[in-house]
């Protein structure tokens, strides 16, 4: 067999590298089906983010209630907390967990979705200045965070 011309060979190498890169990139687009341990780990991390952000929102509400914080700073932090909750929740819902962990999936998903809803409510209350809602919302968020933290610790 005649060896390929150097240019043709180089082209083949480029094509192979491009194909490999494409494969790596596209593999990110396929929903992952992690094994049980990895899935538990992901759930734990999602709950960690959930606890961190719901607690942050609750802290903001309590401080606003006591008139210890001004609104621009509160609204700025609310935006980031809402964004983080959305990101963490979306990332978790992308995963397909193993069947034996369906109970865990249900809990984490629904609590994260609860957290998102309550954070949205809190944001609305702050934007509208409905001071009466701050404390009740903060209490709900804290009890949600407690639930999440308990489950998070049980996964360690």
């Amino acid at each position: 067999m005649r060896p390929a011309y150097p240019a043709a060979r180089a082209r083949r190498v480029y094509a192979a590298v491009a194909a490999a890169l494409l494969a790596v990139t596209l593999s990110g687009c396929i929903p992952a089906t992690p094994d049980a341990d990895t899935y538990r780990d992901k759930a734990e991390r999602t709950l960690g983010a959930g606890v961190s952000q719901t607690t942050t929102v609750a802290m903001i509400l309590r401080n606003l209630h006591k008139d210890k914080m001004f609104r621009p700073a509160a609204i700025t932090q609310m935006r980031y907390s809402q964004g983080s909750l959305d990101t963490a929740s979306t990332a978790f819902n992308e995963l397909t967990g193993p069947a034996q962990l369906d109970d865990l999936t249900r809990k984490v998903s629904s609590w994260m979705s609860d957290a998102q809803t309550k954070a949205d409510d809190a944001r609305t209350a702050i934007e509208r200045g409905n001071r009466g809602e701050y404390l009740p919302l903060a209490k709900e968020l804290t009890s949600l965070a407690d639930k999440m933290e308990k489950l998070e610790k049980s996964l360690r």
């Binding site: 991390r45 607690t55 802290m59 401080n63 006591k66 008139d67 210890k68 907390s81």
Partner: protein, 410 residues
């Protein structure tokens, strides 16, 4: 009297100018996840930056030659070019992070989106570097940066169990929930944040800007030996505040708003306002320093006229470098990259780049031809050599730890 005033001013600006976006974010993150168990790294970093700043300051006062000038002379054009590329890349990354930090501080104060502030911030920083005198840049933002003392006041108001905190710090008592690799990843990040290379470039070039001579050495030493440790106390206060309020609640820091939360608990609206002012001053001042540091390093490698003691037209290439890096930094931030993430990268890559800066300084400070009777004595050399080992370890460990711990998230 005048002498005492200027000494006091130097020390105060050294304190207020010590903290930048890397210190703010990393200390709060570490406090909220590891309590005071990484306090030893801050102490280690403060001594390290003190040792090497003193050395580079001494080299400048005696020889008139700032750090990158010396690096080129000692390493030759090839190795120094590699060093320049690495150092400037890290300093630019830090520049981006600092400008982003200013925008975040303004967002926190107004709730107007950070991206709105980026172009104005970049333009304002460029304008200051174009028009303001060196000592105004250094003093104004250094003094305003003292607003961060609010974190020390807040910590005291929060009334933590001091002996508990101290024992956590002394025994490096890591919370069980965190793994050791993550602990050491943050140790490296914290070390990189305290010893950021731009600080030495800026400090030594500032010596030329202010025309230090050997008679200035005692003042310079006082600034470094008193100012930096007190600045380190501000860092520890930020970590302490997070350790007291955020760690027990399970909040881990990933925004500037969360960095400020403990102050809100302790001191309410006024405290928050002062903290935001402190964020603004610290990041704006550090942005000016990093922007200058890029121009200084490039100018000193090539031997161009550089410095703020000239009209811009007399140091055209120096000002062109600053202009281009400022535009570049602004554009990067407008891609909506998260400045906090840029900060996290910048402190780790700082740790990676540390030997590039510190090894040549140690070599020159030992050169008797160059330094005359002001060459390194046993204390500076012992500390310098010990730190060289630490710096090398941190540098080698930085990237593997970053990948292994997925930037501290694993």
């Amino acid at each position: 009297m005048k002498k005492i005033l200027s000494l006091a001013l130097g020390i105060l600006t050294a304190i207020g100018g010590f903290v930048d976006i890397g210190d703010l974010v990393t200390n709060a993150q570490v406090g909220s996840r590891f309590g005071m168990s990484l306090a030893w790294v801050v102490v280690l970093g403060v001594i390290g930056i003190g040792v090497f700043s003193e050395m580079s300051g001494r080299v400048v006062a005696v020889s008139g030659r700032p750090t990158f000038d010396v690096i080129r002379e000692r390493l030759g054009p090839r190795a120094a070019m590699a060093n320049l590329v690495g150092s400037v890349a890290v300093t630019l990354l830090t520049y981006i992070a600092e400008i982003g930090g200013v925008a975040l501080a303004l967002e926190l104060g107004t709730s107007v989106y950070e991206y709105f502030w980026v172009p104005f911030t970049a333009a304002a920083i460029w304008f200051v570097l174009w028009r303001a005198k060196f000592n105004i840049i250094e003093n104004a933002f250094g003094l305003l940066g003292l607003a961060l003392i609010v974190f020390s006041v807040a910590l005291w108001q929060l009334g933590p169990d001091w002996s508990q905190m101290l024992s956590n710090a002394v025994t490096a008592d890591k919370p069980d929930a965190e793994a050791w690799p993550t602990y050491f990843y943050y140790a490296v990040a914290l070390f990189g944040a305290a010893m950021t290379p731009y600080e030495v470039f800026f400090f030594s070039s500032g010596g030329v800007e202010e025309k230090w001579s050997p008679s200035f050495l005692p003042t310079m030493r006082a600034n470094v030996l008193i100012g930096f440790p007190l600045g380190g106390l501000l860092s520890l206060s930020i970590a302490g505040c997070a350790a007291v309020t955020l760690l027990p609640a399970g909040v881990s820091v990933d925004t500037l708003g969360q960095v400020a939360l403990p102050v809100v608990f302790a001191l309410g609206k006024i405290g928050l306002a002062i903290a935001i002012l402190g964020f603004f001053a610290a990041t704006f001042g550090a942005a000016c320093e990093t922007g200058l540091a890029v121009g200084y390093s490039v100018g000193q490698y090539f031997g161009w006229q550089w410095g703020k003691f000239f009209r811009p037209r007399e140091a055209a290439r120096f000002h062109a470098v600053i202009l281009v890096s400022t535009v570049l930094a602004g554009l990067v931030l407008l891609t909506t990259v998260d400045p906090i993430m840029v900060t996290e990268f910048s402190v780790v890559f700082s740790a990676l780049a540390l030997p590039l800066t510190y090894l040549p300084i140690l070599i020159v400070a030992n050169d008797r031809d160059y330094m005359g009777r002001h060459h390194n004595k046993w204390l500076a050399n012992t500390l310098g050599s010990i730190y060289l080992v630490i710096v090398l370890v941190a540098s080698i460990a930085a990237l593997p730890l970053m990948i292994w711990t997925k930037m501290g998230t694993a």
